[in-house]
Symmetry: C2
Subunit: 342 residues, 2 copies
């Protein structure tokens, strides 16, 4: 169906049909000039992310439902990184003429699935035309008790530096996708076999790229264990860049150990296949959406009990800089050459 | 200066340098994963708008500073339409390779000017690349006392229908700009004179298009006069479309009078020049950013005292439909053929 058949308001009605707010903080959702929210005893957390076709995603290998799901998760991840809970989502989408209603239904299916899983309300939708590619801008609103909010700036001397999950997998997934795209584009039109991508044994890497899961479970574990991180942020531009952000904001240095950086087996194998250094992928690859946080040294035993969390180093005096200690004991200053959308 | 010289984070630092939060509700602005806000006794209003190059604006005749100013005002307008006060702005911008740091400085200068005038804090900024045109997505957060929030759905039988300012001027400004663009593009390269646009006597129309002012003054006047509108929204897609929104949301009909629709002299003159029906321009032209609202009939005398507000009709039973009564007494159903971004 052509979008023009529904018109702008018909389209928004169609895409948001059946959405009923789940959160007590949502007083009014889609359909007026503004959404109306209420947060009497909480801090309100607001984050916004823009995803541009050709920069942040390639529709050749990104199913629209996955893209919608990921667009929501990327925003949830920023709320978790403040030690908060996502509650509302405002969705703006600009689409070119080649898009039909069914395409937007797929995109919304992914957005709605992610929101349903985490009990988040879609409270606003703006859909317009684009002269060219697809643009998605999402604002997520979340909340936290005032005393629970964790900033980047709270890391203290001797705090432990921790990271969840593993790093570099989404970056390797991206390399794989780009390789298969080149194979696909350079095949003779009659070669059906070359059109079948070869992803066997790499499924996890593709999942990390196409269907990331923001780490709500880590925030929950920390809460249950009674651990309040001193600083936290999500790893979207690569570990190296994020460590430098925390050190700059907290006025400290850090020392992290290469051998402690968590890697998945598939990531390591794939890096070898591409003749890349896997540590570099973990340090500078983007889109991991893991949580990087610091905790007081006295929480060491409790952190060690957490599932899927690894201590990778410690906070130092600022004059010592931000340093990676390699497997053979050499020291290198961390550089923010990470993933960049420029 | 090339954007790549600063990098993404350097650029955001550069553009947001010197911004210090003015509102008590802003606990943390730019620089972390989220902005942190506090609204203990208020409703939180959230609106989001996306502006795409080639759809919502044409850089041939839109100075970037004006574009930034307008992008902020468009969002303020949605907050005023809820009878609220804008407090925070989150800005996402995607730019193509032809953009330099100075271009973004201009855009931000407009955004910052609009925010300074209204005491709004820029609390978040995301800047990334675009494969093609410029895309701006802005989220505005505002507040109102719970009892002050005005929705579209509250219009009651016999309420007066009121509109601020005048309508159709921005639409005529757009026609002028498009005409001059065609003249400019079709001139011989050597014809310097043809490159000088002819806007004499039309300055007000261009200002309405390029530098709209969201009607905070109307919201203030209503407050001071002790008038609480029963329904309100801003006129961004044309009066006709907005009246239908209010009638649909409120489950009523309306009767508005052509002779009561406020028009500026320049709008009428320019419509004649273009051989257009000025009422059609006022009903279906977009981007007026005036306020359309309904008040109880008993507020008639107080509304009549308001500066720059006109009563254009009344709310009727739903079965009577939404009707325009022409100067010669004929009745036509209102149609939402208004300005559309599709």
């Amino acid at each position: 169906m052509q979008i023009s058949e529904l018109g702008e308001f018909g389209l928004i009605d169609h895409l948001t049909h059946g959405i009923t707010p789940q959160n007590a903080s949502t007083k009014l959702g889609v359909g007026d000039d503004c959404a109306v929210l209420s947060y009497p005893d909480r801090r309100v957390l607001v984050t916004s992310d823009m995803l541009m076709e050709g920069i942040h995603f390639d529709l050749v290998y990104t199913p629209l439902k996955h893209l919608g799901y990921k667009a929501a998760q990327v925003n949830f991840s920023d709320i978790y990184a403040m030690n908060g809970t996502p509650r509302q989502l405002v969705v703006s989408i600009a689409v070119g003429k080649r898009f039909q209603v069914e395409h937007l239904e797929d995109l919304y299916a992914g957005l709605r699935l992610a929101c349903e899983e985490r009990g988040v309300d879609i409270v606003g939708g703006d859909t317009c035309s684009s002269m060219t590619g697809l643009a998605i801008s999402i604002t997520c609103i979340g909340d936290a008790a005032p005393e629970d909010v964790v900033l980047r700036s709270g890391a203290q001397l001797n705090d432990l530096v921790c990271v969840s999950g593993n790093l570099g997998a989404a970056y390797m997934g991206l390399q794989l996708m780009e390789r298969e795209k080149r194979v696909f584009e350079s095949r003779p039109a009659t070669d059906v076999e070359a059109a079948q991508p070869d992803f066997a044994g790499h499924e996890y890497l593709l999942e990390r790229l196409l269907k990331p899961e923001a780490r709500y479970d880590i925030v929950e574990q920390l809460r249950e264990a009674g651990i309040r991180p001193t600083a936290m942020m999500d790893v979207s531009d690569g570990l190296s860049s994020e460590l430098l952000h925390i050190c700059k904001a907290s006025g400290c240095g850090c020392r992290v150990y290469e051998e402690r950086i968590p890697l998945d087996y598939q990531t390591a194998l794939c890096a070898e296949e591409f003749n890349m250094n896997v540590t570099t992928c973990a340090l500078n690859g983007g889109e991991d959406y893991e949580l990087l946080f610091t905790v007081p040294l006295t929480d060491h035993d409790r952190v060690a009990q957490l599932k899927d969390v690894k201590v990778i180093g410690a906070i130092t005096k600022p004059e010592l800089g931000s340093v990676l200690v390699t497997r053979d004991g050499q020291e290198f200053p961390l550089k923010a050459q990470g993933f960049t959308a420029f």
